[in-house]
């Protein structure tokens, strides 16, 4: 086979092979370079795949030449390609922007290992996005999770360790629940391939174990995706991870899990279990609404900027689930689109945090006071990303919010309540982001704060970092004005997910 035929496998293979290389490369700058190159290469492949799936086609690849359903099959559809794009893009931007802060915060001899773990995260997440095999999802999920624990634990304060321990426990429970669910489905169907499962489940007369499997899978994945009320691990993990790691995982890790959730529920279960669509909606919609209100509400009172953004992510995840819970094309389209747009907004926000992290050691709101005078460009980018998160027109966030509200109006009289919640949460987002932005632009630096905002030497972040941050902010504006590309992918993704739903 020519190399071209292997392209679907490369997003996993490239970082997976580059990881051990990075681990042994000395000096450490070479390790960084290798990781960056691998990340860029994966991103380039992801772009190719995304362009290839623009027409709604699915690209399949049989691992090791074993055809499905016997072997493991990679199946790249629009949804997978979109998420893959987010993963590799976030990784690339974060690793480029994060070089200096990683260099400063992690002991030199551990850095190559850190980069190796980073690449494993990329490989694992990419694997989840593109595989067509339920058990393979579990394996990739654990690869990415174990590596994620490692990179989060590299955070410079000791609370990173407790945060990661909590994450490890919760994440493992989630993954194990998923494994149990897959076991039950396998028991009933004898296959692990999503498409095959879908086909065979139809002939199963006795569905109780499948119901049980659905319950385990939904709860397990919800735990890994930090769906309210299973979100407890997320805020601290985001807050204490190294800034670059937060920028990377905040953009993609929970979304990848959502992708698996959507695949399982829409492709495997909805066509085969009567009433599953209703069950799914009744289970997910209340959680989504509560998560939206809870996440935004807590964020209003949170004082640590990174944790605040973490709570905001819980709320934003609620939007994604809310769209999915409508179980119609408009809702799924909004949901998938928001996966993309929220990644843009949150990624840009955390990249700006990476840039600010060149001068700040702590991220309480008062540490940011007056930083706008020292680092106007960085804070400007942060502000644009914040507008995108709120959903101000002209930014990416507006597009998905628009589609979500349109979809909510399609829900009849219930829709008005949903619109009310979405609007209320947007206004809460204005409040919590404003609590950061106003003093950051206008207040005088707090003399007791640990940050160095008042220090005369503090200037902008290095040019390279700044360029990445500004690029991320610019992408928010670009996809707010020219949303055709993610829209197309999201449209195909919605169609593909709904193909098996009666």
């Amino acid at each position: 086979m020519s190399l071209e035929a292997h392209i679907p496998a490369l997003p996993v293979i490239v970082p997976l092979l580059a990881a051990p290389i990075a681990a042994y490369l000395r000096p450490r700058h070479l390790a960084w370079a290798a990781a960056t190159l691998a990340s860029i290469a994966s991103f380039a492949i992801a772009v190719l795949l995304a362009l290839a799936t623009r027409d709604g086609s699915i690209h399949r690849y049989a691992m090791g030449g074993w055809p499905a359903p016997f072997g493991i099959e990679l199946a790249i559809d629009s949804l997978g390609a979109l998420v893959l794009l987010i993963i590799t893009g976030a990784s690339t931007l974060a690793i480029i922007a994060g070089r200096e802060t990683i260099e400063r915060d992690i002991e030199p001899h551990r850095q190559p290992l850190f980069y190796a773990a980073w690449l494993m995260v990329v490989a694992g997440l990419a694997g989840i996005a593109i595989t067509g095999d339920a058990f393979n999802v579990f394996v990739f999920m654990e690869i990415s999770s174990l590596a994620t624990y490692v990179v989060i634990a590299a955070g410079s304060d000791r609370q990173a360790l407790t945060a990661v321990f909590k994450y490890l426990i919760m994440g493992t429970i989630g993954a194990t629940f998923y494994l149990i669910g897959v076991g039950f489905v396998y028991m009933m169907t004898g296959t692990l391939n999503f498409a095959d499962m879908q086909a065979r489940l139809a002939d199963i007369p006795y569905v109780a174990p499948v119901h049980l499997a659905a319950a385990f899978i939904i709860v397990g994945l919800a735990l890994k995706a930090a769906v309210f009320p299973l979100h407890a691990w997320l805020p601290n993990a985001y807050a204490h991870a190294p800034h670059a790691v937060t920028a990377f995982i905040a953009a993609c890790s929970t979304k990848v899990t959502i992708l698996v959730l959507l695949r399982f529920d829409f492709v495997v279960f909805m066509g085969n279990i009567a009433e599953h669509a209703t069950q799914f909606a009744l289970f997910v919609m209340p959680l989504a609404l509560l998560g939206i209100l809870f996440g935004s509400g807590v964020a209003i009172f949170e004082t640590n900027v990174k944790r605040l953004l973490g709570y905001s992510s819980i709320a934003q995840l609620g939007y994604i689930l809310l769209g999915a819970s409508f179980v119609d094309r408009a809702g799924l389209l909004a949901s998938v689109l928001h996966i993309f747009n929220h990644a843009l907004a949150k990624g840009a926000l955390f990249l700006a945090i990476v840039a600010l992290g060149h001068h700040l050691t702590r991220f309480e709101i008062r540490d940011l006071h007056g930083i706008g005078r020292r680092m106007p460009w960085t804070l400007g980018a942060f502000s644009i990303a914040a507008l995108s998160l709120v959903g101000v027109p002209g930014t990416a966030g507006f597009i998905s919010k628009w589609y979500l509200i349109v979809a909510a109006f399609g829900q009849g009289s219930l829709g008005l309540v949903l619109v009310g919640v979405i609007v209320a949460s947007s206004l809460m987002a204005v409040v919590y982001l404003w609590r950061i932005l106003e003093p950051a632009w206008f207040a005088a630096a707090d003399p007791v704060a640990a940050g160095a905002a008042d220090d005369k030497r503090v200037g902008e972040a290095p040019v390279g970092v700044l360029a990445v941050v500004l690029l991320a902010a610019a992408l928010n504006v670009w996809f707010g004005l020219v949303p055709a590309f993610p829209l197309e992918l999201a449209g195909h993704a919605a169609d593909e997910l709904l193909r098996h739903v009666p």
Partner: protein, 119 residues
């Protein structure tokens, strides 16, 4: 008989709950990890038991022409992978506990939380 006949699932359920209880109720981080291990082991047993075919032998085919009944080898292979994952998780967890002990001088969860609040 129906209930007892499914004893493997009862064992799975019991082990799962024992592990889960230890995870939630114990303050000691190492005990939490032990709980996690038991929790995962329960799932291993589930997979292995559902591969068993009554009257089946080990899936080693010596004579391709004989129509022997043998156990499904696939779940066993799957669970080998899961065991490796479980070991890695436990190892990583223990490594983190060691780092926590270095940083906090304790491995009791409530104690750690108290220290975090103070800082």
């Amino acid at each position: 008989m129906e209930i007892l006949g499914l004893y493997n699932y009862w064992v799975f359920g019991a082990l799962l709950m024992i592990g889960f209880f230890a995870l939630i109720a114990r303050q000691n981080l190492v005990k939490k990890l032990l709980g996690l291990s038991i929790f995962q082991s329960a799932v291993f047993l589930l997979y292995i038991s559902l591969a068993k075919v009554e009257g089946g032998t080990a899936p080693i085919i010596l004579d391709p022409t004989a129509a022997e009944i043998f156990s499904n080898p696939l779940p066993q292979v799957l669970i080998l992978t899961a065991i490796v994952v479980g070991i890695s998780t436990t190892a990583l967890g223990l490594a983190i506990v060691v780092r926590i002990r270095e940083a906090y001088d304790t491995i009791e969860d409530d104690e750690i939380r108290r220290l975090d609040r103070r800082s």
